[in-house]
């Protein structure tokens, strides 16, 4: 089975065979891959080089930490690669920006009203988390289209707070 792994625009073509061997950009390696804790810690021997990796997955994207260095890897197999290629460009950018909570927390203040004109870096919402107040600022100038939270609300990470257009 062939996969394409992409890290920082660098592409690795990886072909996995059944007999403990992989081809990485055509170069053969013997591998021995084990789960250590059944969760996210893996031990990988590549031609006797020993690597310990922590992995978190989101869809086909992997966050791989090796010796404390984070590597974000996108993996595609041949089939999905073709699909992605075919649909590319279909998702157009909209003029709206959804300002999301970057962390879970408690909304302390909402500093804008619907219809307000806001400048870039203007404070929109004060979010308290772990005893610090964090100012959520407008990423660019625009008009406040919608306010989805109020002071006192608990919000999850990624929850939309305010929509600016």
């Amino acid at each position: 089975m062939k996969y394409t792994a992409i890290i920082n625009d660098q592409t690795y073509e990886i072909e996995i065979s059944a007999n403990n061997s992989v081809l990485v950009n055509g170069e053969p390696h013997t591998i021995d891959f084990r789960s250590i804790d059944g969760i996210a810690l893996f031990s990988l021997l590549i031609d006797n080089a020993s690597w310990e990796t922590l992995v978190q997955r989101e869809g086909d994207q992997y966050r791989v930490v090796i010796d404390g260095h984070l590597h974000v890897v996108d993996v595609q197999d041949e089939r999905t690669r073709k699909i992605v290629k075919a649909t590319k460009g279909a998702v157009a950018a909209t003029g709206e920006i959804a300002i999301k909570a970057p962390m879970p927390g408690l909304v302390r203040e909402v500093n804008v009203n619907a219809g307000d004109a806001v400048k870039a870096r203007q404070s929109i919402v004060i979010l308290e988390a772990m005893k610090m107040e964090n100012e959520i600022r407008a990423p660019r100038e625009g008009i406040v289209k919608e306010i989805r939270v109020k002071a006192g609300d608990k919000v999850e990470q990624g929850q939309v707070l305010v929509v600016v257009k």
Binding site: M1, Y3, A5, I7, N8, Q10, Y12, I14, I16, V22, V24, H29, I31, F33, D37, G38, I39, A40, L41, F42, L44, I46, W51, T53, L54, V55, R57, D60, Y62, V64, V65, I66, D67, G68, H69, L70, H71, V72, V73, V75, D77, P102, M103, P104, G105, L106, R108, E128, A129, M130, K131, M132, E133, E135
Partner: protein, 498 residues
């Protein structure tokens, strides 16, 4: 003599103090909020009492409830740790009124030194140089008027502050008013006191502090310095003792100034005098912390003095177990604060369940831990979840050891500051000891990846896992993991439908 100690705190510092008590043969009482029922400090203490809901204002900051528990449990002393009520003179007073020993200085001293504004006055009277700024609580408009004289940039700081909270850097006059508002609000939320003051910024300063110990017999000693300049937005992240820039002569000078300041305040118990040190190695009093400091372990590691135990000793009316002439700094100690924050994402707080935890150990490594595998890190409290400390005969050995220990440290389920520390300990400037309090914010970046071999390994791992998922997309959980699942049939009492 003390028999039973209530620890009015949570997390790693509560565990630290409980350990000291256990080693002294003292009985212990923990207090906990609703979300902390299964926390390490609750399991560690001999007794544990619920004191309210998760928000600190409704539990760990509730003086009345904590005193009530102490009386019910017949505790004869309360150790406040750091944060929460540690520098709250009303709490110290309430303890005294209830006939309970407060493990720390008398309320009057907390008030005199704990209020940063008053402390600056007290200390400067002893000839100790202080950082220029305001010396009394002022209204916003008066403060804005004073700011012109002090000059920009400057800091707005909470009088009751500490740990970088309630603190704002202000570059220009027009930023001052909103910064004061923000700082007041944070201070009120964190400390229940919204008074703030202004302080001139000494550019490229180092933050170096002196640990002092004082007993009720009038003995005051210092345990040398701690270098705390590695800060991100005024939050200390790495500390060490000794400091790379402090020699014996400077240590003696700073130590004497610190002892003088403590004596002036009629200080009793453990405390820390924080100094800013400028380019020419002049030092200026910044503030005094009238409590156990987060970074106390580095001092313990180089002096061999157990500060937590000395605090309990002093609180029980006994003299210090160590004299100034016996204090020697042996070797080098460093501490990394392990926080539940994502260094790859602007140090945003990270919450969730700790799914897997491997802590470093072995020669010269000490972990001050506050969490365990399975613990849920919530958004209610300080993100500090553990401290990784190392000792070595010299700084290079300590650095190599810290790198080794960091590479062993694995926490899954939440993001932590560990990758930041690993980057820092690869930084040439840090290794050479060339840094100041602005180093992290101005001259350090947390970019991702880099090493080509690492990237290749990451690519292979991701491909193997994708392959695995494709092959077993509808597979039931594998047999190999069922052994553990089988053990899980003992359910928690809580879920038993009561």
């Amino acid at each position: 003599m003390l028999k039973k100690v209530l620890v009015a705190n949570r997390g790693e510092i509560a565990v630290r103090i409980l350990r000291a008590c256990r080693e002294l043969g003292l009985e212990t009482v923990a207090v906990y909020s609703d979300v902390d029922r299964n926390a390490l400090h609750v399991r560690y203490a001999n007794e544990a009492f619920n004191i309210g809901p998760a928000p600190a204002r409704e539990s760990y900051l509730r003086v009345d409830r904590i005193i009530d528990v102490a009386l019910r449990a017949k505790a004869d002393a309360i150790h406040p740790g750091y944060g929460f009520l540690a520098e709250n003179e009303r709490f110290a007073k309430a303890c005294a009124e209830a006939g309970i020993v407060f493990v720390g200085p008398p309320a009057s001293v907390i008030e005199a030194m704990g209020n940063k504004i008053q402390a600056r006055l007290t200390v400067s009277k002893q000839g100790v140089p202080v950082v220029p700024g305001t010396y009394e609580p002022l209204r916003d408009d008066d403060m804005i008027a004073q700011a012109e004289k002090i000059g920009f940039p400057l800091m707005v700081k909470a009088a009751a502050g500490g740990g970088g909270k309630g603190m704002r850097r202000v570059e220009r006059a027009e930023e001052l008013s909103p910064a004061i508002t923000r700082a007041r609000s944070e201070a009120a939320s964190a400390f229940g006191d919204d008074s703030v003051y202004l302080e001139k910024i000494i550019e490229h300063a180092r933050h170096i502090e002196i640990q002092i110990l004082a007993d009720s017999k009038g003995n005051v000693i210092h345990l040398g310095e701690r270098e705390c300049s590695i800060q991100r937005r005024h939050q200390k992240l790495v500390e060490e003792s000794p400091s790379p820039i402090v020699d014996k002569e400077m240590r003696e000078k700073m130590g004497k100034a610190a002892v003088r300041a403590a004596e002036a305040a009629q200080y009793v118990n453990a405390g820390t005098i924080e100094f800013l040190v400028d380019n020419e190695r002049n030092f200026y009093f910044l503030e005094m912390n009238t409590r156990l400091q987060v970074e106390h372990p580095v001092t313990e590691l180089v002096t061999g003095v157990d500060i937590a135990k000395e605090m309990l000793r002093v609180a029980s009316g006994r003299p210090l177990s160590v004299k100034q002439k016996d204090v020697r700094l042996n070797g080098w100690a460093m501490e990394c604060r392990i926080t539940a924050e994502d260094p790859f994402n602007g140090f945003l707080p990270s919450t969730g369940k700790i799914i897997s935890l491997f802590e470093p150990t072995g020669p010269g490594v000490r972990v001050e831990n506050g969490v365990y595998e399975g613990f849920e890190v919530s958004l209610y409290y300080d993100p500090l979840i553990a401290k990784l400390c190392v000792w070595g005969p010299d700084r290079p050995t300590a650095i190599m050891r810290m790198k080794r220990a960091l590479s062993e440290y694995k926490i899954l389920g939440i993001q932590t500051s560990i990758p930041f520390h690993q980057k820092l300990f690869e930084s040439t400037a840090f290794i050479a000891g060339h840094f100041d309090t602005a180093f992290l914010d101005e001259r350090f970046t947390m970019e991702q990846g880099g090493d080509e071999e690492h990237e290749k390994v990451a690519a292979i791992v991701a491909a193997l896992l994708t392959h695995d998922r494709r092959q077993h997309a509808i597979a039931i959980p594998p047999a190999s993991s069922s052994a553990r699942a089988g053990w899980k049939k003992f359910r928690s009492w809580e879920s038993m439908g009561r």
